[in-house]
Amino acid sequence: MRNYIYMDNAATTPTKKEVLAEMLPYFSEKYGNPSSIYSLGGQSKNAIEKAREQVATVLGAKSKEIYFTSGGSEADNWAIKGIAFANRHKGNHIITSKIEHHAVLHTCEFLERQGFRITYLDVDEYGVVDIEQLKSSITDETILISIMFANNEIGTIQPIKEIGEIAKEKGIYFHTDAVQAIGNIKIDVNELNIDLLSLSAHKFYGPKGIGALYIRQGVKLDNLIEGGAQEKNKRAGTENVPGIVGLGKAIELAYEKLDEHNKKLISLRERLIKGVFDNIEDVRLNGHPTNRLPGNTNFCFKYIEGESLLLSLDMEGVAGSSGSACTSGSLDPSHVLLAIGLPHEIAHGSLRLTLGDFNTEEEVDYVVEKLIPIVQRLRDMSPLYEKAKGEK
């Protein structure tokens, strides 16, 4: 098979070799259960504690404030349900935004069915949450604000510091889904007044199936998973030791090389955006023009539909993603693209290409070169394009 160009790094990233090497012994040699008292178990326990320290160091947190989970979705579910149920006596109101990941949105919808009241904040055309609306939504009943650090589709980075200050001033817990931000943005939980933060290893070149929730010391939340005494009685289940070791190594590596990573990705991103805009008409860039994740691009090509664009790119050996309805299994295009005010027909034509550490300038140029005829071919087939040309 010829070289495959992977530009879907927001979906997942390959596990780096150095990370995998650290993990491997914990499958077959150092396989002890961390809860066992003999030395084989102790070895696993120590490995987990090392990883906890690695995560804590990156976040500016204490080790004991890091809890491992099965991934970002579990961390989001735990943070929101845990806070909601443990603080119900204080109030039943939660504030989030319209562009959260489904792990947050569907959890909030679940809580609505349990009698909680949820405010879904609007975002502006770039996908930035409305701070004024946030302030005016807060009531005596508000127990949690949950706003993502950076958006997974359009890459827009939220004013987390401002939100953290508001939450602190009002004495409301602040959770952020930082799944897309970790490995791309320097985050200090104290500086930003974050009380809970979700992260997932496979977004920063670690393995799948492992994540963590940062819980500020003293924050009251219920358990999500009951059972054994693991994670200080807060998250039951035998620990995914190889995964945890991989997460620790991956986050350490990511922050050792953060500046280099960001410089490279921003340069590739700008090259891709320029290439697309210089060569293709009737295209828009979704998300904030500058305040966005270093590797994120999200375009809408008018008059064509995203899935046929993805299929065509796949035929040329390029992997991307789309917010088109046809790739989500529902009939509506992405909730994020609708929230930034795009009409359905434009939102259907979206293409997300997310760059990573393994992409090159040559790959970016190849993708632009292939995109030009693909977009033209699909437009030539489209009755919307025909209509638009007629009107011009």
Binding site: S308, L311, M315, C326, L331, S382, E386
Partner: protein, 144 residues
């Protein structure tokens, strides 16, 4: 996810384009749902001698349009009327369940173009009495 047949018709769609002075033109679907099919027919002595299409939509919408035009070319109007969405999907070696509405759209595009032909020529076509080209194929029960 898609059959080889679907991919073949997506890669090399048959009969893309327009027919100038077509005898029947039908457009179904809407941009909100992410798919629009426009079908052009050339009809001589009750036989569809040529069919072309333009489609805004996903891979299976493009493949369904392509297959539908292939299936009706050379057929009489009555034969074309009998082509169901199921027949289009089967000819493509099946469509994923969430994509069955694309084949419904193809069936409707044929009927919509024939309806236009019948109106222009003031002739009656059996089976078009209750046909509503604006009906949304997404909501209804789809024959799989």
């Amino acid at each position: 996810m898609y059959s080889e047949k679907v991919m073949d018709h997506f890669r090399n769609p048959r009969n893309v384009g327009e027919i100038p002075n077509a005898d029947g033109v039908g457009e179904v679907g809407n941009p909100k749902c992410g798919d629009i099919m426009k079908m052009y027919l050339k009809i001589e002595d009750g036989i569809i001698v040529d069919a072309k299409f333009k489609t805004f939509g996903c891979g299976s919408a493009i493949a369904s349009s392509s297959m539908a035009t292939e299936m009706i070319k050379g057929k009489s109007i009555n034969e074309a009327m009998k082509i169901s969405n199921k027949a289009v999907a089967e000819a493509l070696d099946g469509l994923p369940p969430v994509k069955m509405h694309c084949s419904v759209l193809a069936e409707q595009a044929i009927k919509s173009a024939l309806l236009d032909y019948s109106k222009k020529n003031n002739i009656h076509i059996d089976g078009l009495e209750d046909f509503n080209p604006d009906e949304d194929p997404h909501g209804e029960e789809i024959e799989e």
